[in-house]
């Protein structure tokens, strides 16, 4: 690989690693490549915006998983249940505050969405802490047992959701002003998708700032590289682990809320259904890399949209094809994480 060029002019400074532009350029290149095939620019914009929104939602759900894997080397197959749980947690807010959603006021509607998100993140965060303590902690270090145990946790938690909220699917309604679409000329953009892009961008930028500009972020990145060293320097890596796991679960809850409003139906299995995409995305992005997860999400969602438009029969396996192509090009994913 050519991306390990080192700047040697200033010996006092740390060597800077160059940003790996190729995977980043892949997304706009793909979008431009699709344009002549699709033909009409308005359809292309519609598809691209829809794909971006889809990618953002997938990113929201996947970011927590990849973060947890990167820092803790834990693969949580039960992650999907946090997505479902986040979705069901909206019912806590939607029940008493249904009026806010019906009101024709964007302020109240967004406040309702925000409240749903906060509640869902709180619920999934707390459950995540319990899940880490009860299910995951005894199996640090063994991937096989992690997969098995977190699958077990998934079964139990899904059944528990059934026991609490009932087994039949629950319909939910989008807040009033978020329904429908913006129409500009021939271009159709669903309002909710625009909101999803906004939320996704905010979370991504927030995560990047947190990871790259704060002390906690520094510790997390150091922990990804070498946890023993961080511990030897006197930091309590365990506390960091738990907080990252809780944050990861809360992010899944946030993704779950966005996903629930998009699907407008709640089922306990909804998280596990979308986990397939989530796994594809984090493999494509490189296990443990938040930036890779972001690029991978958008890439996978855009390809799915374009292919779905051009050759609907192929759309089912387009995700697998993207993954296979990326893995033959870079077997560790787009942005390989150094240590693993």
């Amino acid at each position: 690989m050519t991306d390990i060029a080192v700047e040697t002019s200033a010996p006092a400074e740390l060597p800077r690693t160059k940003t790996d532009w190729v995977p980043l350029a892949l997304v706009p290149a793909l979008a431009l490549l699709a344009l002549p095939f699709i033909g009409s620019p308005s359809a292309w914009v519609t598809l691209t915006v829809a794909g971006l929104a889809m990618g953002m939602m997938i990113f929201l759900m996947a970011s927590g998983l990849t973060l947890v894997f990167g820092l803790m080397d834990i693969i949580n197959f039960g992650h999907g249940v946090f997505i479902s749980l986040g979705a069901y947690a909206t019912l806590i807010v939607l029940g008493p505050l249904a009026g806010w959603g019906e009101a024709d006021s964007i302020g109240l509607n967004l406040a309702l969405l925000g409240l749903c998100i906060v509640t869902a993140m709180a619920v999934t965060g707390v459950v995540g802490a319990v899940f880490e303590r009860v299910i995951v902690r005894p199996v640090y270090g063994s991937h096989l047992k992690q997969i098995l145990v977190t699958m077990g946790g998934l079964i139990v938690a899904e059944q528990a959701i059934h026991a609490i909220w009932g087994a039949s699917p629950i319909p939910i309604r989008l807040p009033e002003t978020l329904r429908g679409a913006f129409v500009i000329g021939d271009i159709v953009m669903e309002r909710y998708r625009v909101v999803a892009v906004g939320v996704g961008l905010v979370v991504f930028i927030g995560m990047q700032l947190l990871l790259n500009r704060t002390r906690i972020g520094l510790l997390i990145r150091a922990g990804v590289e070498n946890p023993e060293m961080v511990e030897a320097l006197g930091y309590r890596i365990r506390r960091l682990f738990v907080s990252v796991f809780v944050a990861g679960s809360a992010l899944a809850g946030l993704g779950g809320v966005m996903w629930a409003f998009y699907r407008q139906t709640l089922t306990a299995g909804m998280g596990m259904e979308v986990m397939v995409l989530v796994f594809i995305v984090i493999i494509v992005g490189g296990l443990g890399s938040v930036g890779g997860c972001f690029v991978g999400s958008i890439l996978v969602a855009l390809v799915a949209n374009y292919v779905g438009f051009l050759a609907p029969k192929l759309a089912l396996i387009s995700n697998i094809l993207v993954m296979a192509l990326v893995l033959t090009w870079r077997p560790q994913g787009l942005f390989p994480v150094a240590r693993r």
């Binding site: 145990v149 796994f279 493999i283 077997p331």
Partner: protein, 373 residues
């Protein structure tokens, strides 16, 4: 593994008998009196079900147990002996089912259609298993789990979409070869008061194929090849350093296990005279397989028999028990929901988690431990 020479054969019969048994079981005997007893009970009950019970319900339950024994044993080869988690096992199960179903539906109900369907299914399974293995096992075993999950779900969607070939969500119903139809009679007179009809022939076909495949799998895990798999499971680096090509061995294990799962799928389709996405391809069955392997005992093979029997019986009869419990607890908030008959998976899931922590060897491991102490 010198256990056979230390611990006497569980049967108190003549030496030559024990020799034959030991050879049939590839010198990998149950190694526990209680375990042998349970296994003999299960196998005998399965073998004599058509004579012991009347009606179709027990026979169907027994056939389902047989099919799941093959399926779970083949999964154990992967999970217990090779230490890799696949979520595509139902995909191969489904390929077997669809192979038989499509063969019999398109080519007419005779044995050559069965053969063609099965061989085509086996070939497709082998190719897919090799492709997945080479794509994902090359990098890291953990990729394998995620990629198999992705591929399996794509296949499930594909099967339900290509309704022209697979019958879509409705699945395929088909006619069996004449010898397996209920109208077929082996003897004109009842034997031991039971009329031996095509259903019973079909059952014994399922049963004997199950026995054959199980013994073959037992032979494979006790062969030098199986030992290498276990070595890789215990320490991948060391096995590689000793000169074994880890990727090749793991891929081979995944192919063998996929082929056995394909056969299991074919058996189920033959028994049900139907195949559809819900009977073979669904993710719920994958979870059932995981539960059976882990609760029965990973890396023991015999765990497959106990796990499958226990699980299928629980599926059929635990719900009755829970229904009674749910009614008894009526009026208390939430509790009746927890023991509602539809929540039986909740309790098996909890048992699963406890098994992984407390008894990594499952029921079989527990029984063997009891023997030693």
């Amino acid at each position: 593994m010198t256990a056979t020479s230390v611990i006497p054969a569980p049967f108190d019969e003549s030496r030559s008998r024990a020799g034959f048994l030991s050879r049939a079981l590839s010198s990998d005997l149950p190694r526990s009196r209680a375990l042998s007893f349970i296994l003999i009970a299960i196998v005998l009950t399965l073998a004599l079900t058509p004579l012991l019970f009347s009606g179709s319900q027990p026979l169907s339950t027994a056939a389902k147990i047989c099919v799941f024994i093959v399926l779970v044993a083949s999964y154990d080869l992967l999970l217990g002996y090779s230490g890799i988690v696949s979520f595509a096992h139902t995909m191969f199960f489904g390929i077997g089912g669809y192979g038989i179903a499509i063969g019999l539906e398109k080519l007419g109900p005779d044995w050559s259609s069965v053969a063609i369907g099965l061989i085509a299914a086996l070939a497709l399974s082998a190719v897919l298993a090799i492709a997945i293995g080479l794509l994902s096992l090359r990098v890291r075993a953990i990729f394998f789990s995620m990629i198999t999950l992705a591929v399996a779900s794509a296949m499930a969607v594909l099967a339900s979409q290509m309704s022209g070939i697979t019958g879509g969500e409705d699945g395929l119903s088909f006619q069996l070869p004449y010898a397996l139809r209920p109208a077929f009679r082996v003897f004109s007179e009842p034997v031991f008061g039971v009329m031996i009809n095509g259903r019973i022939v079909a059952y014994y076909l399922v049963f004997f194929v199950t026995v054959g495949v199980f013994l073959l799998l037992l032979r494979i895990v006790n062969s030098p090849f199986g030992r290498v798999l276990q070595a890789i499971r215990e320490n991948e680096f060391r096995a590689e350093a000793l000169g074994y090509r880890v990727v090749a061995y793991r891929t081979a294990a995944s192919v063998i296990s996929a082929l056995a799962a394909t056969i299991a799928g074919g058996l189920l389709a033959l028994w049900l005279r139907y195949n559809g996405p819900d009977t073979t391809l669904s993710f719920a069955i994958m979870i059932d397989i995981l539960l059976m392997v882990v609760i029965g005992g990973m890396g023991t093979m015999y765990g497959a028999i106990i796990g499958a029997a226990l699980f299928v019986l629980a599926q059929s009869y635990l719900q009755v028990l829970m229904d009674a419990g749910s009614k008894a607890l009526a009026g208390i908030p939430l509790l009746p929901n927890l023991v509602h008959p539809d929540r039986w998976l909740l309790w098996l899931g909890a048992l699963f988690v406890i098994s992984v922590y407390a008894f990594p060897g499952g029921i079989v491991g527990r029984l063997r431990q009891g023997k030693q102490s």
